[in-house]
Subunit: 416 residues, 2 copies
């Protein structure tokens, strides 16, 4: 894409009411527009990053036979009353409204109940199980505070998956498949090394639930981590008996600020029992379905990546989720020979299938480089008069600052 | 995809409270789940159709240099107060709610105001114009009645685009580009022949606005159409002076039931003036931007296609938006030779890049065919013992009922 055509502009300053580093940078770089606290429009560059993260998650979900669908924001009061989660005393984050036609509706802060309810039409017998479904759905949550940018939105994009099983064995297998899929996702988006599957309080049905926590200064959680053993524990289960069971002693654990980038719940059979999702087992008995639920905050993951990778110059994207792979920056564009050369390189890289943002604008080099650093695209390729004379391009790796001078041939080979 | 794995099942009956043919069929075929009146979950087959329609619209928008972004459902009261459209007396379809942190918010029934507001950060000078943006956004509308299935949802997916121009000439060009893009979209989704650009009331700034109306018995609108001249007129502008201007007489116009599948508005400079979107023109003067807005109801288009194409047996999809191109139906699957043969054909078609739903289930032929007709996939390929003996497949075109017997070689050639 040509930067001269891109409608967004970078900004010197973030809005004065924006406290979070992730949102400040993303707004300044033109990835986001702040609608209100905790609510951000995705501008073209931001949407590209979100779609990249979604595609990684989609591939990992499809690989474990999870089927994509899409539920609705509007939710029925009756469905949530059945499991006693309609009341604002029970769920604090509801947004609700009144139908003109009469009656109350809620806006989806979660989708466990509506999807369990929907599955009643599709699960009758053990022959219909196991099944797994997922969606990318906007969640709307009436958070009292929203000061962490896209790490805690009032409106945010989540991937939520749900598993439905006949036997405990099937159930455990899908739970384990999701755990592995989550690890793959964090590896692929570039935060795998610092992300820990964390033991948290399990509720009435299981000893533990599992959160995925990423080491992050801007995180809102505290996790106790033993890096050597790869064990992480939420404060709420930091008890002697649990530590013993997990094979770790208190002194090995380091109190660490973290951000929750995913969580998975083992509902056993209780959620289906409450929601009324029953099937006939192989003996013909009416039985509640084993259920699990698995969430990843897509926009939160984006925020965490920004917080962890950005430097004093701006954003730094891992290649896997960058809006473009290459930022082709043309200098001396008033020289027709240079500008023709740059056009040729742009065409060739695109032909090779490389995603390129082409800075074809007439501006000062210093301005262009500062903006390029702010945007955080992994590789900057500079086309200049000086380079033309030497027959090379300056290629700068954003994450490391490494500078290489490549010939045209070397350049294409490098990005092929 | 294997039908034995697909989690949705077809249903004999639609919910008793569902009046619309489109929703009845789509629910029975497992494309949709009804959350409440006017609110439908997209199940995997339904999501595939929606994604196909989106991709067609996306290609047509990108072709006219419109840039994709994604705004939010949550909207700020202040932004809508500025143009005097926050009041429920002014806009009847608002859903509103209260923030826990204090203050009211609205849920997006339209996005003109928030996007005009966002553009203030990106349009400063005539050099930043012209620009066009679009999004696929869920709209939430508090409709008093919602009896037309996905043709009038309380929650529905819309493509909305907005153009921003410096000069009237740029503005008219983008308006014309969008008109052409809309025609291309209706052609590609299979309703082009029956869709008319219709003259409707233009409001304070232009003589006419333009709706796209599709001839449809289930439509909620009445349009006056002269098929020969390709002219269509909304009742509200059915006046002698207008007819004269458009070169048609009243007797040539046939009163026709239609569904509105798109509408485009020419705001002139007034919307930007109200919203406070100004730029510096080439003379350095502060000037309101020329704006247009362009909407297509994605899920409504899907509903209209269903209403127009479906027959007594079920859904009938045009190839361009079908969830799969081929429904491969294996009979006699208890015969290992037949089932192996079917598996081979499934693998070969997929390898050829053909999208196939493979009915690999063990069920009676009559049941399979009835379900195949209900699903409406364009081509049914039957693998059977009888066919094996003759060395052929029965290929049925869903729309016409045409039956052909093709050899394996002919089959692959036909779908290549």
């Amino acid at each position: 894409m040509r930067q001269s055509q891109l409608f967004t502009k970078t900004q010197k300053e973030a809005p004065s009411d924006e406290e979070a580093k992730n949102a400040q940078l993303l707004i300044r770089a033109g990835y986001l527009h702040k609608e209100m606290a905790g609510v951000y429009q995705l501008l073209p560059l931001g949407l590209r990053v979100v779609e990249k993260i979604k595609q990684i998650v989609r591939e990992e979900m499809n690989a474990i036979d999870s089927q994509e669908m899409l539920a609705t924001a509007m939710q029925s009061k009756e469905v949530w009353e059945r499991t006693d989660r309609w009341d604002d005393e029970k769920v604090e984050v509801w947004f609700k409204s009144e139908l003109k036609a009469g009656g109350e509706i809620g806006f989806g802060w979660s989708h466990e109940e509506p999807l369990a309810n929907m599955m009643k039409n599709h699960i009758a017998s053990y022959k219909d199980l196991p099944k797994m479904i997922y969606q990318f759905q906007n969640k709307l949550r009436n958070e009292l505070r929203a000061k962490s940018g896209i790490m805690r939105g009032r409106e945010f994009l989540m991937k939520d998956a749900y598993s439905f099983a006949d036997t405990e064995e099937q159930h455990e297998k899908m739970y384990a498949d999701q755990q592995q899929a989550y690890k793959n996702v964090y590896d692929r988006v570039g935060i795998g090394e610092d992300t820990y599957m964390t033991f948290a309080a399990g509720g009435a049905f299981t000893q533990f639930s599992h959160e995925f926590q990423t080491v992050c200064e801007a995180g809102e959680d505290i996790t106790y981590i033993c890096k050597e053993k790869g064990i992480a524990i939420n404060e709420e289960v930091l008890e002697e008996a649990n530590l013993e069971e997990l094979g770790v002693v208190r002194d090995e654990l380091v109190e660490t600020k973290t951000a929750e980038v995913g969580n998975i719940f083992n509902f056993g059979r209780h959620k289906a029992e409450d929601a009324g999702l029953f099937y006939k087992n192989s003996e013909g008995e009416r039985t509640p379905v084993w259920m699990g639920s698995y969430g990843i905050g897509i926009t939160r993951v984006m925020g965490v990546v920004v917080e962890k990778k950005a430097d004093e110059k701006g954003l730094v994207w891992p290649e896997s989720i960058a809006p473009f792979k290459v930022h082709l920056v043309a200098l001396n564009t008033d020289d027709e020979e240079i500008s023709d050369w740059a056009e040729g390189v742009y065409a060739s890289l695109q032909k090779q299938g490389v995603e390129v943002l082409f800075d074809d604008r007439n501006a000062r080099p210093g301005e262009k480089f500062a903006e390029s650093d702010l945007l955080g695209i992994p590789y900057r390729v500079v086309v200049s008069k000086k380079g033309k004379e030497a027959g090379t391009f300056e290629v700068v790796t954003r994450a490391t600052g490494e500078v290489r001078n490549l010939t045209e041939e070397e350049l294409y080979a490098d990005f092929s």
